[in-house]
């Protein structure tokens, strides 16, 4: 692999370069009435690794699409320019920085000129690699497409080059004969990455490149990206909602909120000194699970609806605990302060007063402190009443393809107990068997051997009516709250059903009972929610409704399957806190299924680590996490993105 002579890996000083590679000037993008990106300006320099952080709906993906001029209709750039300062070069020869660097506006450049720039100069990896590879073409063809389109390379050399590219992302070259569906998610993402680097572009846009992958795979791919970036010196804009990831790999981080960049500074200083309250709120959601004391924070409220006209002032102000009067009147602009830029009146005032460093302990938003941090927790666990016992369960799945029978041991010899008022976390990757175990607990699935006992009841032997009756005692909280609520029914109807079926609440008693449930999960005043449909609520509110429904039959056990993984980072802690409160107050036994050790650390009393259907580690949360003995547990712990940990070399 030939290296670019002029660009030493990692030798680029983003601030030092005279002219940028890409500069965005007052860019606005709108979808019909919605202004998804509002007046965004920033610069990107050669070899720079920049993170773009934002929650769903913040406009970060739209911004990315606008840069590449790939906005899906009816989206359109309504204002501003995207200047490209690298020029389109022809042929294979890559020379040093061109003497003449004329900027070109990507928003107005002709189709053909744009086409020439694309991929040679700027490439991308999309969020969902499941869909970004053409399902009907082999991997090789999809590489060949770009190579043959943009270079003179053909035939065997091209094939060789593809092999090299695959090796570069740690894939065997033989995979080039495969079709996308024959590869795993992680492999596809690696292919997409190799594809993005096929022509050694100067700029790569990575849009949530690892979302949806298992943490360990996620980690490995990001390490790969970072290493390649250092080696080849391309500039990266990494779009992600995951602050941990972004902070860890980026040189510089831009934070987006409601279509605007609200903060822009180097990652290292941002951790130490976040300027915008929103950034601070986001940072609050992270912690090192191995720390002695862990507390995480959340930002109450929900992001603004950008389709609604006539909104004034700082759009974060309604959620901001530090907001002052001017915040509600006037929208702040991004301006230099501290060691970077921020759009915040409060921070501006603070820096203007000469004291930029505000109290670091004052995290923005509400704080939820991990129970394990409280010293009195340990012994109490033992005293709790045992509600459900899983003993030596084993489950084997048989799948038949033609004449070939494949057997998979989904769960092997797993035993644990659920206790009242206690959260037991079941941690593992997808495919580790945690879902099968959960289904056994709920009676949906039966173990081949072993038993599941609820009091005197053998859950694994229930069928029909008995099973139906058992459901009164065990309830579910789902991963995706929107999918868990029937879009055709109002909240009131949804909550009324378990009350009617399990609690025999009817008639006039129904409405107060529903209101009580809603109030209990923090949706108040309850009457405003009863008539609403799920889509009219925010994700956090929806999840609260799901929790309320689970509470309705007054169950002994709640199985919560990744209840926060689909939620925005800024509100995750809020749901965790709710679950925690309910479990403690009502003495419910909770099986908390997750891949995320941080949330387990915060919420759970006990942790079970599951790997390939086997229980590899179990015990009190703090003991397991701080003193992990099993290699897999440690791998899981290492994979957790941690902005506060020291940067990896």
């Amino acid at each position: 692999m030939t290296e670019r002579a002029s660009l030493e890996p990692g030798a680029v000083s983003p601030e030092g370069a005279g002219s940028p590679l890409l500069s965005v000037e007052n860019l606005s993008v709108s979808y019909a009435a919605t202004r998804a990106v509002r007046d965004v300006s920033f610069q990107l320099h050669d070899g720079e690794f920049v993170g773009l952080l934002g929650e769903s709906g913040s406009g970060k993906t739209t911004l990315g699409n606008a840069l590449l001029r790939l906005l899906p209709p009816p989206g359109r750039i309504s204002e501003g320019r995207v200047m490209w300062w690298g020029s389109a070069r022809t042929g294979e020869a890559r020379e040093g920085p061109e003497p003449h660097r004329a900027g070109r506006d990507l928003t107005t450049i002709g189709q053909e000129d744009l086409r020439r720039l694309r991929w040679r100069e700027m490439s991308t990896v999309f969020q969902s690699s499941m869909n970004s590879l053409n399902p009907v073409l082999t991997i090789e063809t999809q590489f060949r497409d770009v190579i043959e389109e943009h270079t003179a390379m053909r035939g065997a050399p091209a094939r060789q080059r593809i092999g090299q590219l695959l090796e570069m992302v740690m894939l065997d070259p033989s995979y080039m004969r495969f079709y996308p569906h024959e590869l795993s998610g992680g492999m596809k993402q690696r292919v997409a990455l190799a594809l993005a680097l096929a022509l050694r572009p100067r700029f790569v846009l990575l849009d949530e490149p690892t979302t949806g992958l298992d943490v360990i795979v996620q980690r490995s791919i990001l390490d790969n990206v970072r290493a390649l970036q250092r080696e080849q010196g391309f500039a990266v804009l990494l779009i992600s909602h995951d602050l941990g990831t972004v902070m860890e790999v980026s040189d510089r981080v831009m934070v987006m909120y409601a279509g605007k960049i609200v903060e822009d500074q180097r990652a290292s200083t941002m951790i130490a000194e976040p300027m915008h309250p929103y950034t601070r709120g986001l940072l609050g959601a992270y912690a090192d699970p191995r720390a002695r004391e862990v507390e995480i924070a959340y930002i109450p409220g929900r992001p603004p609806d950008l389709s609604r006209p006539g909104q004034r002032g700082c759009l974060f102000a309604p959620r901001c605990q530090e907001a002052i009067d001017v915040c509600r009147a006037e929208e702040p602009v991004l301006s230099a302060m501290g060691q970077g830029e921020a759009a915040c009146h409060v921070a501006e005032a603070a820096y203007a007063a000469g004291d930029g460093r505000r109290d670091q302990s004052a995290r923005a938003g509400e704080v939820f402190t991990a129970p394990a941090g409280r010293t009195d927790r340990g012994p109490r666990v033992e005293r709790r009443q045992e509600v459900l016992a899983v003993a030596g369960v084993h489950k084997r799945y048989r799948s038949r393809r033609g004449l070939k029978v494949t057997e998979v041991d989904a769960v092997q010899d797993v035993s644990f107990v659920l206790r009242a008022g206690t959260v037991t976390a079941l941690v593992g990757q997808s495919g580790s068997g945690k879902t099968t175990l959960a289904r056994m607990v709920t009676g949906v699935e039966r173990p081949d051997t072993g038993s599941v006992t609820f009091g005197e009841l053998r859950v694994d032997r229930l069928r029909g009516r008995g099973l139906k009756a058992y459901r009164r005692h065990v309830q579910l909280v789902f991963q995706d709250p929107f999918a868990a609520l029937n879009p055709a029914h109002t909240i009131g109807y949804t909550l009324s059903r378990p009350l009617i079926n399990h609690q025999d609440v009817t008639g006039a008693a129904l409405r107060p009972a529903i209101e009580e449930l809603l109030e209990r999960v923090g949706l108040s005043p309850a009457s405003t929610y009863i008539e609403k449909y799920p889509h009219q609520l925010s994700g956090g509110q929806q999840q609260r409704v799901v929790v309320a429904r689970a509470l309705a039959p007054d169950p002994e056990i709640i199985v919560a399957d990744e209840p926060i993984s689909m939620l925005d980072v800024s509100i995750r802690a809020e749901i965790l806190e709710l679950l925690d409160t309910l479990v403690r107050e009502r003495g419910i036994a909770m099986l908390y299924i997750t891949h995320d050790l941080l949330s387990a650390r915060v919420l759970a009393d006990e942790v079970l680590v599951l790997h390939n259907g086997k229980l590899v580690e179990s015990g009190a949360t703090l003991e397991v996490i701080r003193g992990a003995r099993d290699a897999y547990t440690r791998q899981l712990l290492d994979a957790i993105p941690n902005p506060f940990a020291t940067r990896r070399g």
Binding site: L70, P72, R120, S132, V136, D145, V146, G402
Partner: protein, 331 residues
Amino acid sequence: MRYFVSRVMFFVLTLWAAVTLNFIIPRLQPGDPAQTMVQRLAGQSEAIDPAAIRAVQIMLGLPTGSIFEQYVDYLQAVVRGDFGISYTYFPYTVTHMIAEALPWTIVLVGVTHVLGFVIGTLLGAAAAWKRNGKFDTVVSLGSTFIGTLPFFWIALILIYVLAFTLRWFPEAGGYSGEIDPAWSWAFFGDAIYHGILPALSLLITAPIGWIMGMRNNMVHTLGEDYTRLALAKGLRQRRVALTYSARVAILPNVTGFALGLGTILGGTVMVEMIFGYPGMGKLMFDAISNRDYPLMQTIFLFTTIGVLLANLCADILYGVLDPRVRREAQT
């Protein structure tokens, strides 16, 4: 391989079901088929000697024995390709009649179906590529309306305008009769001239389904990441449109191609009847008109088998075109 085996199994099963259905339907009709038939041969209000009925029964080989024996005999006959004697064209066999009509329909339906598919797919792809543009609006709304026009009505209007009034084309028939059917250019020219109006009647609506299907699929695939990525790759528009978007969008249409054959065959019955085109549709219509049950049954069976075969081909083609469905073949 499993995919292909399962498709062939489905074909065999449906074939058996169709053959059996074909056995059952005529037996659901009230009355004695022999009586009906003899009455038909003799003329409506003639008194017939019972001996004559018996003689005709034997002559035509009308079914005897228990229903099960009949079924077994029937299956054996089907395997032998012996579908009995046509009532209308007695003493010619059903097979003889079908052999004469089949080429006409295969050509008419083949040409129109393939042309319709190609035109429709191209138009649909073009409309999707320029979605929400003028072309798209015209194509979408135009096909919404044209798609609702009955086949037979279009045929009637065409015959009225182009044949009756303008006299540009012959009103009826598959060839003029002056030239005996033969492998000659003169005959082919004559046959093509006669085939234009029937083909046109089918061709006006034939592409509509494909336009809709292709447009909708492609609007979908255009929004897919792989298409956007292909654009980002700096590939030429043509390549993106064809290899990425259209290539995937066409897949459902391939399955539809076979199912659409059933629809167009339905249309053929009417169009052939209106144009007196000497194909299977006309033969079927005549068989119905004349209560020529053996002929009718067999045409229905042939039509079904034709569609089933087309379906099998489409399934196999689908397997070849879409690597996802033959996942098992690889592992």
